[in-house]
């Protein structure tokens, strides 16, 4: 019997787990994938929005601004990459400048600080590579970027250190009511819990429907992205949004927290919640529209493209509340953009809901600080020297493109909630994230995973079951 079951270990579930781990509750996180951050959390813009965009008065607006303000401190406390690079909402020549003013006012209403409109001259100064067609822009100094993988990993890891249990590869297939709460049935086991928190992303409506008749419908809205070689690093410094139109927010161009340039996302309303494939049309749209914001966006420098599905709830706002007909069942649904920005605030909001239902004491032994894995690529000569002296594995470079050493990979595997898959290693320490996309390092990473986990390399997977990387030995059929 646990006190709280959280369904889903994306950024939302992980932030909630971390927030609740401050309290004296027994918490279990159930995740159907093999790792944290395997759904929408791994495939988004990685942007911490200022909060000018959401409609005033909505949960999105309120939690975005709150989350965005918490983020810098959190990034220090939990050691994940965060850069306050500022955003610019670009208005090209001939566009309705009134809309820029509307955004400014909306932002002020939402409580976003430092907003102002900049003219062409100042824009050129702020962002020398901006497209010449851009006439003015809304400057959002509080806009930032974060590494969504490491943010999720950091949250989940810190929750685990504070006693939260995580179980991977377990899909929730049914939920039944019991006298004391709920019985959660997974593909593997049955769990009893007083409270259930539904943070199941695009499948939140399905989980919700297992216990509640309240209407909820999550529509997957696909966003495709292109990631560029870090040779282009510095092409843009700010996150460049387009002035939103009736058609949507448009394609943004942004640096990532690791210095790559990224463009995307498309917005395609789909039915299939597994359709994380890219399409020729989608990639073409990203490249074409992205190029309108900057002087040049060289197609040849794309190193990978990917897709994520926004968990769009038809009402348009986040749904964070106890279901009206299911006591102790808390939905955290429709967490699309600005979900990453809002996630820490969402977690506090959920904690408040839970505390009203059943107050809990706070732990005195809670460890709120986390130290990440040392990053050799960012370390100074002396730090590198020291790290290699402590552990010679830091002297062995495995991923040449991103300068990732064996020491970092071994730590990614052996930490709490450590990596068990090639993707898990990649998201934690960036081995395979560079321009050769794992061509050189993936065989070595597989070997290290096998060694550290006492497995045969043939058992090592890219991510979920069925994604084994090797098909047996030579000559054996």
């Amino acid at each position: 019997m646990t006190d709280v079951i959280i369904i889903g270990a994306g950024i939302t579930g992980s932030c909630i787990a971390r927030e609740l781990s401050r309290q004296k509750r027994k918490i279990l996180v159930l995740e159907k994938a093999s790792d944290v951050c395997e759904g929408t959390s791994k495939a988004n813009s990685g942007i911490i929005h200022g909060g000018y965009d959401a409609k005033p008065g909505t949960l999105k607006a309120r939690l975005n601004v709150m989350g965005s303000m918490m983020m810098e401190d959190l990034s220090r406390e939990l050691d994940f990459p965060y850069i306050r690079n500022g955003s610019l909402v670009l208005a090209p020549e001939g566009s309705d400048m009134g809309r820029l003013d509307e955004l400014l006012e909306r932002g002020i209403k939402n409580g976003v600080k430092g907003l102002r409109i900049v003219d062409r001259e100042e824009l050129k100064y702020l962002e020398p590579n901006v497209n010449d067609r851009i006439e003015a822009a809304l400057y959002v100094p509080s806009g930032a970027i974060a590494d969504p993988f490491l943010m999720t990993v950091a949250m989940a890891e810190n929750a685990a250190v504070n006693g939260v249990d995580f179980s991977f590869g377990e899909e929730v297939i049914d939920i039944e009511r019991t006298d004391s709460g709920y019985r959660v049935i997974t593909t593997d086991s049955v769990y009893e819990s007083g409270y259930v928190i539904n943070a199941a992303g695009v499948y939140a409506d399905k989980i919700h429907g297992m216990v509640s008749k309240d209407p909820m419908e999550i529509v997957p809205v696909r966003g495709q992205y292109c990631l560029f070689d870090n040779e282009l690093s510095g092409l843009v410094k700010h996150t460049l949004f387009k002035l939103p139109t009736e058609k949507g927010k448009g394609i943004l161009v942004t640096p990532t927290a690791h210095g790559n340039i990224m463009a995307g996302p498309t917005a395609e309303t789909l039915e299939d919640k597994e359709a994380v494939n890219t399409t020729a049309e989608g990639i073409a749209t990203v490249l074409k529209e992205g190029a309108l914001s900057v002087k040049e966006l060289p197609e040849r420098k794309v190193i990978t493209s990917f897709s994520g599905l926004r968990a769009h709830e038809v009402s348009g706002d986040f749904i964070i509340r106890e279901a009206s007909d299911a006591r102790g069942f808390i939905d955290v649904a429709g967490i699309e953009s600005p979900g990453l920005s809002a996630a820490p605030a969402i977690a506090e909001y959920v904690s408040d809901i839970l505390n009203k239902l059943e107050p809990s004491e706070y732990r005195t032994d809670h460890i709120s600080k986390r130290e990440g894995i040392p990053v050799m690529s960012k370390a100074s000569y002396e730090e590198r020297q020291r790290l290699i002296k402590e552990d010679p594995l830091f002297g062995n470079v495995i991923c040449r493109c991103e300068f990732v050493t064996e020491g970092e990979i071994v730590r990614a595997i052996n930490r709490p909630l450590g990596a068990t898959t090639l993707d898990g290693v990649k998201r934690r320490v960036r081995a395979g994230m560079g321009r050769c996309q794992g061509g050189f390092c993936s065989p070595r990473v597989v070997e290290i995973l096998a060694r550290e986990l006492s497995k045969d390399p043939g058992e090592i997977r890219k991510n979920d079951p069925g994604s084994e990387l090797l098909a047996g030995y030579n000559k054996k059929i």
Partner: protein, 499 residues
Amino acid sequence: MKKDIVIIGGGPAGLAAALSAYENGIENIMITERDMRLGGILNQCIHNGFGLHTFREELTGPEYAHRYIQRIRDERIPYMLNSMVTDIRYSPDPGKTDKILTVMNKEKGMFEIEASAVILAMGCRERPRGAMNTPGFRGAGIYSAGTAQLYVNIEGRMPGRRVVIVGSGDIGLIMARRMTLEGAKVEAVVEIMPYSGGLKRNIVQCLNDFGIPLMLGHTVIDIHGKNRVSGVTVAAVDKDLKPVKGSERYIECDTLLYSVGLIPENELTRKLGAVIDKKTNGPVVNKALEIDGKGVFACGNVLHVHDIVDRVSKEAVNAGRNAALYLRGELDRENAEGFIESAEKNVYRPGESDDKLTCIKCPNGCELTVRRMEDSTLEVTGNKCPKGLAYAKEEFTHPVRTLTSTVPLYDPSEGISVGTSEEAYEGATAGVSDRVPVGEYVGTLSVKSREEIPKELLKDCADALRDVRITAPVSVGDVVLENVAGTGVDIVATSEKTL
């Protein structure tokens, strides 16, 4: 540490450059290599076809590398393995012309080497799928051809069983044959251009010999399978290389290999402020292969991607000599020998009639026309040397090939080798206790047939290698299997393995 010349990279370019510098009188040399062995990518290129220009004989990649490594050892030219140069800069001291290299390895941590001259020989890397922007899912089973080559040839493991290869670069063609001989089914090689960029003899030996279709003017437009590749959609392209509607075709497969070109690896070169040539992706150099006029030279695939390794070696010899001349103050930059161009590309185009034949005896790939005369003798034209005549006659009467493959290698310290290789595999990896104890599986040993064998027996001979059990140590040329499949030809080791 202070060195006259530091050579970054211990692959074919670095080795030849080091020897050349040594032969030109420079002894205070250091080769830095980030891998655990010298030889670079040649170690995994176990196929033959190397050395026809340099050694006037046909060698496999490991054999070609071995000849240089042996000489490096004989001359006692120092090298450091598992060591990565992380930074390179010019000495800030205005009175000095030294270059300062920052090196990192497990044993010494971080350290610096001062070098009077530097030869950049870091080679190149493969262009990944992302650069192609192929739409679809991103499951397991998508590899660059070189990664697959490492898995199969070095680790002895198969990346998949049903394969589609994108791009007809040489590595892709070589892997089509290699995986076929190891029991995989290669469904097709898909090439967007109307011709192949691979060497003709690779089309002949790697595809035609095994009936693997080469789909010219086609491209993969979709990759299916969320966790693991389950198939690809292939379409014909028009003259603008855009997919033609209605020409789509689904091919079931579990593996997709990309062989879509190579890019020189110039991260370090950039740190010196070198200008990168947009066409070659390598640094701009003067006639002496110098990037700066200040004693930093570049050679091999870091400079431009070469067609064959023999030309890499030749260019590296020039770089080594020029570096030596630079140190003596004798480098004549206007008249130096440097850049070695690749041969004019002998592209393969389809639609050649049956009596046309591509000579595979050397990389020239002469186009032979063979006519069968009334007296059933053959008339051969188009050959540039007598080898072409002999080849055509042989090919029309009894075609023969050199078999290159690998056999599993065991560390005998764990026990006596008994049992079939099948059991050895299981026992070695899974520790199954009811099996005969065997040595620990430590990887592969590259091998070849000492002489050519009849083409139609290639598969039988490859299969015969299943039961070979080899324990280290092994030297190049050691017989691994006598009289393979009754052909009278021995299988010999092409690389050495020490314990």
